[in-house]
Amino acid sequence: MGLKTALYDTHVLQGAKIVDFGGWEMPLHYGSQIEEHHAVRRDAGMFDVSHMGVVDLTGDRVREFLRNLLANDVGRLKIPGKALYSCMLLPSGGVIDDLIVYFMSDTWFRVVVNAGTRDKDLAWIRRHAAPFGVTATLRGDLAMIAIQGPNAREKTLPLLAPALRAAAGELAPFFGGRFDTWFIARTGYTGEDGFEVMLPAADAAKTWTALRAQGIQSAGLGARDTLRLEAGMNLYGNDMDENHHPLESGLAWTVAFEPGDRDFIGRGALEILRHTAGDELVGLLLEERGVLRSHQKVVPAGEVTSGTFSPTLNRSIALARVPRTASAGVQVEIRGKLHPASIVKTPFVRHGKVLISV
């Protein structure tokens, strides 16, 4: 049997189709993945993301430690609650994981890592934290619910404790605030506005039920994947991994080369790689019917890293790794036949709006 979140029984009662995801038994959908997708784009939907690893890092030198551990620079985090997206790299530049780090206080940062990489992440973090006297604590006592969509915040706020509600209502994008044992951040993985709420696991089921009563659609990992891909967001293990560095994974914007004297793990390799031609990650729009899938071959060169059917566009879209010299028109091999596709700028969809021409 796989691992279960605090909301597992709730999902089953709601009739969710449960699948294994990184060792966790998670809801794929509650009936129609496409309806769940549209609910998030048009109104509000919620995801159980308690399988993700919440890790609290504490110690007097925690900022110094993270400036060494992460490719993005937590030195940019000046105001408590501010979040930063970053990769954690091997010395080779390969990506161990992508994560979000929240600045809680001068002696406490919180990182949220992927479920499938949690154990290796923790081992890596602890190994490098020790010399800095930093302690890493996995918060298995917390659940996490992501509420996303244009009406997500409005529908969530009335359910929060008054003190938390006041703070949450004021949050700017990519900021979080905490009250008592709850932490709420204006972050997400869908390209829509919304919250990610970390709360005691014991509160999860009743909170989920209350959110449902607010008219928020339960949504599974299926919709989460189509939403993130439309939003042009990477999925670890598909679009980057230990054999691919951020610069060929559409993540150059997350690597802080400045200030030049900040040494971070992987910097040496990236300093060389940034001056080579190499590959890049691009968006693809299939010009014909069909569905792009990961590992399909791009002609003349390259490979699809994530592909799906986009419910918003009613077309197939993908992320693909291709040589930087690739022209705008390529072909993708699907079941032995070549189909034309266009390289387009991502995101495909954001805040409910289609951003590419179809």
Binding site: I34, G222, T226, R289, R293, F309
Partner: protein, 131 residues
């Protein structure tokens, strides 16, 4: 419990077969199959005139998540295919035994009855599979 019409025959790979008087058969996927696949977004049916063999991958259905082959339960020539599925793949989810039919084959050999299940046998098969 899945809807399993009693007038059809079934395969272990979850296709259904509807026999007509003249030796032609209509083929589609079962209620159970469409439910397991989830929202279907792309369907590729065989071209009319194509010769298919029993057990051969003859059509493709793709859900948001994955592509699956549909196997022809019989040998023969494709005499019709459901063009509506190109623009309305959701018909397979909504009406798998009716508007979601996939293709028709004029058989050129006796149907291997042993390879096809009755509705009752298919229901048992599903129950066994779910264990």
């Amino acid at each position: 419990m899945s809807n399993i019409p009693s007038d059809l025959r079934y395969t272990k790979s979850h296709e259904w077969v509807r026999a007509a008087q003249d030796g032609a058969v209509e083929i589609g996927i079962t209620e159970h199959a469409q439910s397991a696949l989830g929202d279907l977004v792309f369907v590729e049916v065989p071209e009319v005139g194509r010769a298919v063999k029993a057990g051969e991958a003859s059509a493709v259905v793709e859900s948001v998540k994955a592509a699956s082959d549909v196997y022809s339960p019989v040998s023969g020539k494709v005499i019709a295919s459901n063009a509506q599925l190109a623009t309305q793949p959701e018909l397979l989810n909504q009406d798998p035994y009716g508007a979601g039919w996939m293709f028709r084959v004029q058989t050129n050999a006796p149907i291997d009855a042993a390879a096809l299940m009755s509705a009752a046998d298919y229901a048992n098969y599903l129950a066994e599979e779910a264990k």
